[in-house]
Symmetry: C2
Subunit: 488 residues, 2 copies
């Protein structure tokens, strides 16, 4: 019995309860083995006949699964020989480790740089490696439009008024239900519906801080985090992030003990830009830490649904017994870009957050809320999510392989278990702001390292987006980037 | 030739160019004469035959116009005698004059009171005199739902992404076009689309102030203005407002000369709660003042479309030669409650406002923007607005008449030329917070005076909403309010 046989357990009879087809499930299990390295690049996958016999599934199930895996770019058929794990990850770039800098309290002054970079990324004709969003065609826009039409037609004038203060009740119920399924029991009243997660995060931070306060954030951090801190005149304490395991807890513990930190703002799963997801135990330990110091934690979890594994990562919120965690989510990355519907489960701060929202934007668009509620009930959200995750996983593999082909061999890269970003650490001599300029001149965008740091570190790093369909232009762009990188 | 004949000029031949029907136009002219008092309550309206002959319109046009005016409650038929201006305004309550208080710089601490009052107004079963919105059925919700369905179906993924940063281009063009028609030439680039006017106002104020700064506002002012000042730790300089003519300019001039005022936030037309609309000349003078001191002016113009007269009031923005005026508008009161689409023509501050928006909510809902753009192009906005204004004007007359029947005779009241609010000044002994409690116990809401003041003045005042269909319950509610008022 080889590794494959040892690790792959036959499908349980209860599987039929799920709407997922048997062959999809089988394909997912094999994909997991590939992703985790149990089935190495170049290794032969068990023959259709062999797999069918060993695991008690029909030959057609195995065949369909392999066909699916081939279409997802994970395996390839060799004539008269069978299926093999694709070669592209055979000589991968080395994986990144934590970048340590001395931790310090710093004013944030990165907003101008971020805006100038974002402005340069706007041109629709560039290869969008610098983009913050996946390709819009990955989303069920036509189906959403139907939900929008349907719910707008049925909406009463009274409901429009009521939903402005309370949020759409169906939407809140659906969100609470999804929390329940992922192991978080949440009273519907704790949920505040917002204009995307960005508003939720802003409201949370304003609720628990005053100008001049210290906030612990990640290094590297999502650049909008830095802009919000700058805008609210807050000081950043940058905690290093391990590219696979997230926040370095000992550094955080040290900072919480020594500094008057008023709030933490972390992404516990699929952190932007590194893609790190903390283990369950680590999340528990992090919660224990903030509980010990009674430090409010803003958990930015907008990529939660984009995991590649079998189990959704649980949020830190699931350990929260004191209402200390404000868990922010959104449909912008998982379902409905542009609808601008997000939320926060605000714990003990919910009432204050809700009031602050009434004073600033009053409410997110009521028809948009109703449309998403309708879609969640009738649209097939989980089916869509599986397709989305598959597409992103496949494209990640393709970009990793392409980078291995073209980038300098000393380049290091992350291996996120979800999302649509890769973070590259290039050789020391590379200046990523310069790199961006040179790349833009060739019609390629990227997100340079310094915009992810309050202190403009990560000079030789960049975030690349693989959420767009891969084509010959993308491959060519990677080749050009590789050439520019080698010129430094 | 009586007053009516002197003042009413025959319809010009170009009238047919407008989509408004001839009889509607004729009815509007007569309504104007009634509103301005040229035709007094109880006075006989010229006979159908006489009017037709004098003004060169067909008898059927006059007849249809009178029928419309009757249905709008402005005139009534007496058997065998003809039409008369309705009696109800015969012994009207006296009109309010400016309430002067010593002007002072004050911290704002009214938010808790406002929230507790707003909470008490939530019960859907109360007679909603305290509401901030007209009845939702006054809006073309079904037609808007069609626009929503249509535009969502047609929207490309690329457009969804682009509209998040730039705003929907059709919507911006349509808004700029409406400015042009009302005499303001505006480059489309100056427009920032926001989550309703509330977000626009917040962004403007944050753009031009820092905590501790002084801001000139109106007394009484819209309570949300006060909440925003409180939230941003700004100090209020309350300028008295004349109930018909708006801001007292001499007081403002004095304050601008003596105090380091960093911004003005005024409603130049149909001010909430008084309903005052400044004259064209006064608007010009106000602009000259802020220009002299180079004080940024935030012009909150959300009721602009709800005027009863023939001409739309022009905004102060129309005099702006220096980009000093940030003109904020919204579709929430005129077209699409709950869609949460507003805008600001931000003058020289546009770029900063737009950046601040990207950092806080990113964008209003993209499908909602597209729906409104579609409606503005194809939905018949101006026709809807005429109907809406007619309904509000009729209901204003009805509430004024009812107040004259039931409220103490020393009560004073405003006579706004638009909108859906009346502001009452009750006898000195009345405590409107107490009044609210007693009224709520009887199932009636109202907006008490003190929530409209940074210093909780206007104890014996209240704002009543007449934007809901008038029925026997409304009449009964006025009677009960009258009884409570007399008990003080």
């Amino acid at each position: 019995m080889n590794d494959f046989a040892k690790l792959y357990s036959p499908i349980s009879p209860s599987a039929g309860l799920d709407k997922m087809k048997r062959y999809e499930k089988f394909a997912d299990e094999v994909a997991e083995l590939i992703r985790t390295g149990v089935l190495a690049p170049g290794e032969k996958v068990p023959s259709v006949r062999h797999a069918g016999r060993t695991y008690g599934v029909s030959l057609s199930t195995v065949f369909q699964a392999y066909y699916l895996l081939e279409s997802r770019g994970l395996i390839q058929a060799r004539p008269r020989s069978g299926y093999y794990v694709r070669e592209h990850a055979k000589k991968p770039l080395h994986e990144l480790t934590t970048t340590h800098y001395p931790v310090d309290v710093s004013d944030v002054g990165v907003s101008e740089l971020v805006f100038s970079v974002l402005k340069s990324l706007k041109d629709a004709d560039t290869v969008p490696f610098g983009s913050a969003f996946p390709h819009p065609n990955l989303y069920p826009l036509a189906r959403l439009a139907r939900s929008l039409a349907q719910s707008a037609r049925e909406m009463s004038g009274q409901a429009i008024m009521a939903d402005m203060t309370e949020g759409n009740p169906d939407l809140r119920r659906q969100i609470a239900l999804r929390y329940m399924v992922s192991g978080v029991m949440l009273p519907v009243e704790e949920l505040v519906i917002t204009n995307g997660a960005m508003e939720a995060l802003n409201l949370c931070l304003q609720t628990v801080t005053r100008p001049g306060d210290l906030v612990a954030i990640e290094a590297p951090a999502f650049y909008a985090t830095l802009q919000v801190l700058e805008r609210l005149q807050l000081k950043a304490v940058e905690i290093p992030v391990h590219p696979r395991e997230g926040i370095e807890l000992d550094v955080l513990a040290d900072c919480l003990a020594k500094l008057p930190i008023k709030a933490c703002w972390f992404m516990s799963s699929l952190q932007n830009p590194l893609g790190a997801t903390m283990t369950e135990t680590k999340k528990q330990d992090l919660y224990a830490l903030v509980e010990q110091y009674q430090t409010p934690l803003i958990e930015d979890d907008v990529y939660a649904e984009l995991y590649f594994g079998k189990q959704p990562p649980r949020p830190i919120k699931s350990h929260d017994r004191n209402g200390l965690v404000m868990h922010c989510g959104s449909f912008s990355k998982s379902l409905a870009p542009g609808y601008r519907v997000g939320w926060v489960a605000g714990g003990r701060f919910s009432e204050q957050i809700s009031r602050l929202k009434l004073m600033t934007t009053i409410s997110p668009s009521v028809p948009a809320q109703a449309a998403i509620a309708d879609y969640l009930q009738h649209g097939g959200y989980d089916r869509h999510l599986r397709k989305l995750r598959h597409a992103l996983e496949m494209q990640q593999g393709t970009m990793l392989a392409s980078a291995a082909r073209h980038f300098p061999t000393s380049t290091r890269v992350t291996r996120p278990s979800g999302g649509y970003f890769l973070w590259f650490e290039f050789p020391e001599k590379v200046d990523s702001l310069k790199l961006l300029q040179l790349a833009l001149a060739q019609g390629i965008s990227l997100a340079p390292g310094p915009i992810f740091s309050a202190t403009q570190r990560f000079r030789n790093c960049a975030r690349l987006n693989h959420g767009h369909p891969w084509d010959s232009r993308s491959e060519k762009a990677m080749e050009i980037l590789g050439r520019i990188l080698k010129s430094f």
